[in-house]
């Protein structure tokens, strides 16, 4: 295969990564934007979503699409419920103190990871893709499911954008993000908004996970890498900026894909992490964000 098609393949692979990453980072960004909470357990919600997707897909027999759809509906709901419970039991009692919540979500990370290891086991298990169409390009065939992932992620992002900017729930969320106390004075139930946002953030990670399991398998340690990558995306995109998050996810995903094809993936990760750390040091508001008030 010559250089051009090779690059196209790398870009497509990068776009698939971007699609998953954007959904996950959006969840992280929402939680940070509205609640000012850095959710270190976000990667574990992703992992939990993937493991549950495997579990639900084994419950039914027949066409793989049935199991996949079941997982796509149930897995985010269960993950959302877990997030809701942990928010009520732990984060709320800490009064959303930034440092205490970091420590608490680290604790949550370990608990979820250990429970997954105990009940799911150390193996990596695949979920069958709902359909197996190969799109024939002139140079190589490409999995139709991967293109579906890109489309599904784009649709989810659009839906989130619509909810945030065009509905009452979104208005309430943005008001809480803008000024918590004034929002409370206007009768917005800030407490419940926080619970909802935390659950929603976890659900976005779970949707991303369900989409990704047919491509890469479900494993109890799969949460850490996407967590670091979503931190990177959220920082580059500017915390709390939806457009920035999407742009940054595409930038990071595609460059990660392209660099990993031509160089070692470890080197790619090293360079990306170092660059982002430098961005955070010298431009804390991110590349696309504006300085905080």
């Amino acid at each position: 295969m010559s250089f051009g098609p090779h690059l196209l393949l790398a870009t497509l692979e990068g776009l698939v990564t971007s699609a998953v990453l954007a959904l996950m980072a959006l969840g992280l960004s929402l939680v940070f934007g509205v609640m000012r909470v850095v959710n270190v357990a976000h990667g574990e919600f992703f992992m939990l979503g993937a493991v549950l997707a495997w579990f639900f897909s084994t419950l039914v027999t027949g066409h793989p699409a049935i199991g996949f759809l079941l997982a796509l509906v149930l897995s985010p709901l269960v993950v959302g419920a877990v997030a809701l419970v942990s928010e009520r039991l732990v984060l709320r009692r800490l009064n959303y103190d930034p440092e205490a919540t970091i420590v608490a979500t680290i604790g949550l990370l370990y608990i979820i990871q250990q429970l997954a290891l105990t009940f799911y086991g150390p193996e990596a298990r695949p979920v069958q893709a709902p359909f197996s169409i190969r799109i024939a390009l002139p140079w190589f065939g490409y999995s139709g499911y991967k293109l579906f992932v890109i489309a599904a992620s784009a649709a989810m992002m659009l839906a989130t954008w619509f909810v945030l900017t065009r509905t009452r729930a979104g208005l309430v969320m943005r008001a809480t993000q803008y000024d918590r106390e004034t929002a409370q004075n206007f009768g917005i139930p800030v407490d419940r908004v926080y619970a909802g946002v935390f659950a929603l953030g976890a659900m976005l990670a779970a949707v991303a996970a369900v989409l990704v399991v047919p491509i890469s398998q479900a494993h109890y340690l799969m949460g850490l890498d996407p967590l670091l990558l979503s931190f990177i995306v959220v920082i580059i995109g500017g915390l709390g900026s939806l457009r920035g998050t999407v742009l940054a996810a595409v930038l990071i995903g595609v460059s990660d894909g392209v660099i990993s094809v031509f160089f070692s993936p470890t080197l790619a990760k090293m360079i990306a992490t170092l660059v982002v750390a430098m961005v955070l040091v010298f431009r804390p508001q991110g590349l696309f964000g504006t300085a905080p008030r």
Partner: protein, 320 residues
């Protein structure tokens, strides 16, 4: 007020060291081995406590300072075959230089951003140890033979792998860092760090160079952590990249929180306690991550000051 408590404080710290030395004859072999490891790791915790407890800097990247000491000493002993003392010194120097560079960059940020930046630098360090796997052998790690861990001082030879010597060397290193922490906590510098933690803006208004004080704390903390790492490599003869992973940035946080942040005795207590909790529970279940996770959440919910923080608040106000 200060002269009043100096005698008590020094006596308490010397008593703790005396108890640790006495344990050499009391403890059975197995626990002596465990305690040697715990003492080295509590040096790591004391280094972490300096920035997290006293200066109030929540870092999630201290594994890189520990690992810098570990690799600095380990690689210097393994490849050019340096003897123990130069390797140890080199390991500490690596940690100090790394802390200076990372501190200089990361201290431009505060709060959550500082945590993320330190975590990322540490992740880069971890990936570097994996990338140069031909040299470091990655997760599998290098094993330092006993000949590399023997010190000859004139006529005497010190075999660091021999359990009694190993325990005493660990106590020695612990004592040095323990007393240094005590001195720092009571010195004007320690009080400046605490004041920065409580109100950074006010300290700046009062004319203190806040950035410089924090950088100094980072470098000292890096030196302590690297000393622990270098000692670990030379005493236990194993150098592997798992020590650079994010888990080893979280563990000192747990130890310090449990024992009490910004107390001199807290890191020792937290490390000993957590080590034995994991040791005992791993007899019943392999779910030690669960223990760590639950401990972190319970601590931060119900016991945020830790054991010695609470003791100081309730009864012994003079504890440093």
């Amino acid at each position: 007020m200060r002269t009043d408590t100096t005698g008590r404080v020094v006596a308490l710290h010397l008593a703790v060291i005396a108890v640790l030395v006495a344990l050499l004859w009391i403890l059975p072999d197995y626990h002596r081995g465990v305690m040697a490891r715990v003492l080295v790791l509590s040096v790591f915790a004391m280094g972490y406590n300096l920035t997290f407890g006293y200066a109030g800097l929540l870092s999630l990247g201290h594994a890189m300072f520990f690992a810098a000491g570990l690799y600095g000493a380990g690689l210097a002993a393994y490849y050019p075959g340096w003897s123990v003392l130069p390797s140890f010194a080199f390991g500490i120097a690596c940690g100090g230089v790394l802390a200076l560079v990372v501190g200089f960059l990361a201290l431009r940020t505060t709060g959550v951003a500082f945590m993320i930046v330190t975590m990322m630098f540490s992740q880069v360090f971890y990936l570097t140890t994996l990338y140069y796997t031909t040299w470091t052998r990655g997760e599998e790690g290098l094993v330092l033979g006993t000949d590399l861990r023997t010190v000859s001082l004139g006529a005497a030879t010190l075999e660091l792998w021999e359990p009694t010597t190993r325990y005493l060397v660990a106590v020695g290193l612990f004592s040095v860092v323990f007393l240094a922490t005590m001195a720092i906590a009571r010195a004007p510098f320690g009080r400046i760090l605490i004041a920065i933690r409580e109100n950074e803006e006010r300290m700046r208004m009062l004319g203190y160079d806040v950035h410089r004080a924090k950088l100094k704390a980072m470098v000292l903390s890096g030196l302590f952590c690297a000393a622990a790492g270098a000692a670990y490599a030379l005493l236990f003869g194993y150098v592997g990249s798992s020590f650079a992973s994010i888990q080893y940035s979280i563990l000192p946080l747990l130890w310090v929180l449990l024992g009490g942040a910004a107390t001199t005795l807290g890191p020792l207590f937290g490390t000993v306690f957590m080590f034995y909790v994991v040791d005992v529970t791993s007899g019943y279940t392999s779910a030690w991550l669960l223990v760590v996770g639950v401990a972190l959440i319970l601590l931060v919910l119900f016991f945020p000051k830790g054991v010695f923080g609470t003791i100081r608040e309730r009864w012994l106000k003079w504890l440093p």
